[in-house]
Symmetry: C2
Subunit: 126 residues, 2 copies
């Protein structure tokens, strides 16, 4: 899941909203860490709808300005939950590696005869 998609789903997880409101909501939620562009938003909403994660939730005209509302489907909510879990897993992985742990050294299948230095790798375009 891309970051743009994630923020849109998260914004909608709070309830029905129209496009522009999602934009401002994400701005607040992400607090500068990421801004979604207008073009990305509407393109993403189209894709999310196509994929059954989001659906129309009525149109309204407020002060002459037409608003199109969107809401999460059950599937959308589910995939946001799943993404949250993956996020947590990624966070744990990064923290453990950044915490100074040794890498679980990947051992070669057999005793290795190692020749260091400049070995011209085949097709190696410098």
């Amino acid at each position: 899941m891309t970051e743009a998609i994630f923020w849109i789903l998260t914004a909608l997880a709070g309830g029905r909203q129209h496009g522009y409101a999602i934009l401002r909501d994400v701005e607040q939620l992400a607090a500068g860490s990421q801004t979604i562009r207008v073009t990305t938003l509407y393109a993403s909403l189209e894709r999310l709808e196509r994929d059954g994660k989001v659906r129309h939730a009525g149109d309204e005209t407020v002060d002459g300005r037409a608003r199109r509302y969107y809401e999460l489907t059950d599937e959308g909510r589910q995939s946001l939950s799943a993404e949250a879990e993956r996020l947590a897993a990624r966070l744990r992985a990064a923290e453990s590696r950044l915490g100074g742990r040794r890498p679980l050294s990947v051992k070669p299948a057999s005793a290795a005869r190692v020749s260091k230095g400049q070995t011209d790798l085949p097709g190696l375009a410098t």
Copy 2:
């Protein structure tokens, strides 16, 4: 930061590794949640090197097979740390919204005269 880039940086955060070992390392780290393709890996490493996040760390020939080693730069380690923080922020945001909280309702600038129903939005290609 894309997920592929994140996993590669995390793998390298444990220490110097060559391409194929990164691949297996990520497989283990992500435990099925995501697999990086070979093509993605080498293309990403090129980009990471270009961007100063990763650098060459020598070539070796082990059992006749040429290996190209990579390691994180300080900048690379820093951007992984930064990404971990953003990950945590995203996780908190998703959890709070999924936890059933109401959205902070975004209020229109003035008293709204709302007309519900089918209002033909301009240029609305159904």
